[in-house]
């Protein structure tokens, strides 16, 4: 189309009203002339008019056709259609309301889910060329995805050919004393290559250098956040000293805002802007430490053009050399290279995928719902549409007229859904587990907005297409001659609507089965023996600075005194100290030897090491299985002992004779004096790792957690406990104060989150299915009033008529449920990662959910059934 024509069309659009008038006058003239010609041929006035209309057509449809050529053509006509559709929808607010609400709810759910998917999975990590970033692990059959030893890291750094940068990092929190306020900071130790590998530079000062990677180095880099808050944007901070861990450290740099940590599941803060301060990671360790200590994470950047597979091959080539040089430390070890983005989101990918599937299912249900209602709507508009067709409207105009309504429904539903989704998003973020990867990235992004509006439009238009095309194909006379008030829905249309209802019930049933499975998992999990009792326990962290507490003789008395004083607090039942708490991701392991017996073939004995004071077991109510717990006998000078868990006994003392046996750990031979119940790493883990407990007095740690058991409100103890500590040492802060219940609940947060969403989805799906059944039956009953009247005239009772309607509902939902039950075992495989204690084909879920669904749909059929039974014989027949 040429520019001139577009201008012409625009002008015509602006003058539409007057041009329409002119066209009408022109057509009137044409018709008049035809009639005159007829009269001149000797016809009567009426005959001439009829003939003229036959020959020349009618004015309204010709005006429509002219309008398409003039103005903005089809768009212009569409606007007219939309105006018509709007007013006709407004006349039937019930229909419009139900459809828009269904769509809006489904779209809102999907908006928030797409916001999550986009923020967590799709948006690239905030580093330059994030695809080139990889995490490197050591891999062995015993310890897959293991931290890399410093020695092996140095080997990789020296001999690799595929990397542009490689660095170590490990979390080691630090205590800052600024003014007279102690503050616990999330701190990470990094090698000099860390920031260059990520692709970030300090905003002030410099990066760490290779010379800084010594134990004696006292230099730090501050995060932008810490610099802005605690140090009030001091522009001259570089070169100044700050008091960290009771020592003087020199600030060498400040990072720019928005530097995000790379995250990791071991000794690392979460991915995101989570780090307050960076310190150099010392590489001058003893040879044993360099080769055998695995406490460092590796981040690396591949050279441009290098694939992960190539990098893996390259590092394993280096690894082969390292295995040859240090066969003891590296026995059976391979290098494992994984893309950073995958590692960051790994744990939650299954959950997100599941939610995505559930969200799409709900959207599908809503679309089917809209489609079902549209079919009914078109049926009731049949006469009007047939008249339009008879008046010469072309097929696509009929389609357009029907679609105009759906367009409105789509836009209104989409906008409402978007608004609702935007309102729900903060709520969802609050519900999401704090440990959820990249939670900070979840927001109403452009992608989410586009998706919600697009899906609403697409769903509503697709839903309208089938009935619209069907109507357009139909012969106009059929629609006119067939009596609309009687059984006007043809067999095909009824079948289509029944199929839609069946589909909807089936999809809703799938969701309900999933929800039941998740609910049963949650119940099984709650009933599980977790080995300890989290109710009424307060816990907090205490870290003793190494400068002041560098000898056991300094540490142990402090802990003893702290426990003694805490126990005296009113309401405290038991107080204890340990270096780890259950379900917090603690994952520190060591090798040990069985004294006097060979190790099981092919197994290098290894266990999680933990250290606890006597009161700890009572405070946790950690169950004793055999022997005794650690008690006051086990002081620093007493014979070395150890308490082990059942998993360790199962693995290394398969005959069960662990008590009294000796094990060698870190150079000491220790007698096993007790066996305690297993505590798994996470509540739903299948099995616990082998673990043992040292007496804290015999193996003191400086980073510990204090636990207090109380009868009353655990949190109320927080400030008295902090006061006790402050009196002992005013420079020791209490940090990370949490109840054990809170920790337990956080460990279950992701499951709970998925369950909540599934419940919400299921309720929505159920409601939509119920609406669909209700609408279909109500419409049917209304259309079949005459048939029902005849039946009743022939002697059918009210009950039998009602039964007719209800059994129709039962058939539809029964069929949907059967289809769902057949497909469910395959569909539920998505759920497997979140199930606990139930199988994907759990019989109880497969009975309960369908029964529930059936009862809901039957309840939905009650009103139409009642209406049918009330339909009077006379009234129904008289309508003829």
């Amino acid at each position: 189309m040429r520019l001139r024509e577009i201008g012409w069309r625009l002008l015509a659009t602006l003058r539409r009203r007057s041009l329409d008038g002119e066209t009408r006058a022109e057509l009137r003239f044409h018709l008049d002339m035809e009639i005159q010609a007829g009269v001149a041929r000797g016809l009567s006035r009426e005959q001439a008019e009829r003939e003229a209309r036959l020959r020349a057509g009618t004015i309204p449809s010709a005006v429509d056709a002219v309008r398409d050529e003039r103005g903005l053509g089809p768009v212009d006509g569409m606007l007219t259609d939309i105006r018509h559709a709007w007013s006709s929808l407004a006349r039937q607010p019930g229909f419009a309301g139900i459809v828009c609400t269904a769509l809006a709810l489904a779209v809102a759910m999907n908006t928030v889910i797409v916001a999550v998917v986009d923020g967590v999975l799709l948006r690239p990590l905030p580093y330059p060329e994030p695809d080139h970033l990889v995490r490197v692990f050591e891999w062995s059959r015993r310890n897959p995805e293991w931290p890399v030893s410093i020695g092996n890291f140095q080997g990789f750094a020296r001999a690799n050919r595929s990397l542009a940068g490689i660095a170590l990092y490990t979390r080691e929190d630090a205590q800052l004393m600024h003014g007279n306020r102690p503050e616990r900071l999330v701190a990470v130790r990094v090698t000099d290559g860390f920031f260059p590998t990520l692709g970030v530079r300090p905003a002030l000062g410099r990066n760490f250098s290779a010379e800084d990677l010594r134990r004696s180095a006292r230099v730090v880099i501050l995060s932008d956040r810490l610099w802005k808050t605690t140090f009030h944007r001091d522009a001259a901070i570089v070169g100044k000293a700050i008091r960290l861990e009771r020592e003087s450290w020199t600030v060498v740099g400040v990072m720019p805002p928005g530097v995000q940590h790379v995250g990791g599941s071991y000794r690392s803060p979460l991915q995101g802007d989570t780090v307050a301060i960076w310190r150099p990671l010392a590489l001058d360790l003893p040879e044993n430490g360099l080769r055998n200590w695995h406490f460092c994470n590796v981040i690396a950047r591949m050279k441009t053009g290098v694939t992960v597979a190539q990098a893996s091959e390259d590092l394993n080539r280096v690894m082969d050399d390292l295995v040859r040089q240090f066969p003891q430390a590296n026995a059976g070890v391979r290098a494992e290279v994984l893309p950073l983005a995958g590692v960051v989101t790994d744990s939650s990918r299954a959950t997100i995928r599941l939610l995505m599937a559930a969200g799409l299912l709900v959207l599908l249900i809503a679309a089917v719902n809209v489609a079902g209602l549209c079919v009914a709507r078109v049926l009731s508009r049949r006469r009007e549409l047939a008249i339009r067709q008879a008046l010469g409207a072309r097929s696509w105009r009929v389609v357009r007229a029907v679609l105009a309504e759906n367009l409105i429904v789509g836009i209104v539903g989409g906008l409402a859904g978007l608004g609702l989704g935007a309102a729900l998003l903060p709520l969802l973020r609050a519900m999401m587990p704090v440990e959820f990867p990249r939670l900070h990235e979840v927001r109403l992004s452009a992608a989410a907005v586009a998706f919600s509006l697009g899906s609403a439009l697409l769903a509503s238009i697709l839903a309208g297409l089938a009935p619209a095309l069907r109507q357009a194909r139909q012969d106009a006379r059929e629609g006119l001659s067939e009596d609309n008030r009687v059984a006007s829905s043809s067999r095909g249309t009824r079948r289509l609507r029944a199929a839609l209802v069946v589909a909807e019930v089936g999809l809703a049933c799938l969701l309900c089965i999933g929800t039941t499975l998740l609910m049963r998992s949650a119940m099984r999990l709650a009933a599980r023996d977790h080995g300890f009792d989290p109710r009424g326990v307060l816990s907090f962290s205490v870290s003793l600075p190494a400068v002041s507490y560098n000898k056991p003789e300094l540490i142990v008395p402090l802990f003893d005194e702290l426990t003694r004083r805490l126990k005296e607090l009113p309401g405290v039942r038991a107080a204890g100290i340990a270096n780890s708490l259950p379900w917090t991701g603690y994952d520190e392991n060591t090798s040990f030897d069985l004294v006097g017996r060979p190790a099981p073939p092919g197994d290098d004995p290894q266990a999680r090491f933990q250290s606890a004071s006597p009161g700890f077991f009572a405070a946790m109510r950690l169950r004793l299985v055999a022997g005794r717990l650690i008690d006051d006998r086990d002081g620093a000078k007493a014979p070395p002992v150890v308490v082990v868990n059942q998993a360790l006994v199962r693995r290394y003392f398969p005959t069960g004779d662990a008590l009294g046996q000796r094990v060698a750990i870190w150079g000491d031979e220790r007698v096993i004096v007790g066996v305690v119940a297993d505590i798994r790493d996470a509540p739903a883990d299948a099995a616990a790792e082998p673990a043992f407990w040292w007496p804290l007095a015999q193996q003191p740690f400086t980073n510990v957690r204090v636990v207090l058991r109380t009868d009353g409100d655990a949190l109320a103890l927080a400030s008295p406990a902090a006061e006790v500590l402050r009196r002992l040492d005013p420079e020791l802060p209490v940090s990370d104060v949490r109840t054990l219940d809170g920790i337990a609940s956080e460990a279950l947060a992701e499951r709970r989150f998925a369950l909540w969403l599934f419940q919400a989805f299921s309720v929505l799906a159920l409601a939509l299915a119920a609406v669909a059944i209700y609408a279909m039956l109500a419409f049917d009953v209304q259309q079949r009033r005459r048939e029902i009247g005849v039946r009743m005239a022939m002697g059918a009772t009210r009950t039998s008529v009602a039964r007719l309607v209800v059994s129709h509902a039962a058939w539809l939902s029964g069929l949907g449920i059967v289809l769902a039950v057949i497909t469910a075992p395959a569909a539920m495989r998505l759920l497997r990662a979140l199930l606990f204690g139930v199988t994907v084909s759990d019989p109880i879920s497969f009975v309960l959910a369908p029964l529930f669904l059936l009862s809901v749909t039957l309840a939905a059929s009650a009103v139409p059934a009642w209406a049918a039974s009330r339909a009077g014989v006379v009234a129904a027949l008289r309508e003829q």
Binding site: E5, E22, E26, H30, G57, A65, R70, A476
Partner: protein, 117 residues
Amino acid sequence: MSNRETARGRTELLQGTLDLMVLRTLEAMGRQHGYAIASRLARVSDGAIQLNMGTLYPALVRLERRGFVRARWDTTDSNRHARFYGITPAGRRRLEVEKAGWARMSGIIDRLLTETP
């Protein structure tokens, strides 16, 4: 069913040639209103071409939009108000192009139908 289908068939027959016919009529008869164009075409074709208003007037608008005809309100001999269409110079040029195209096409069809192998 039947009358709708024939109506559609008729439209299709005209689709390519309607512009040509209208332009030719206006060239031959000078300024005309829509009804006159329709009845002239009916007469010339011995009633084979019965133009529905919904076909004729959109075509006239299309031609006007492309600048091939110009429309103006005027009075008829019987003193009624009507819209008269006249062919423009651009319309004449277009008509020549269409005529040539039509002649070529009908020549081809002619040869195709009469030629014996």
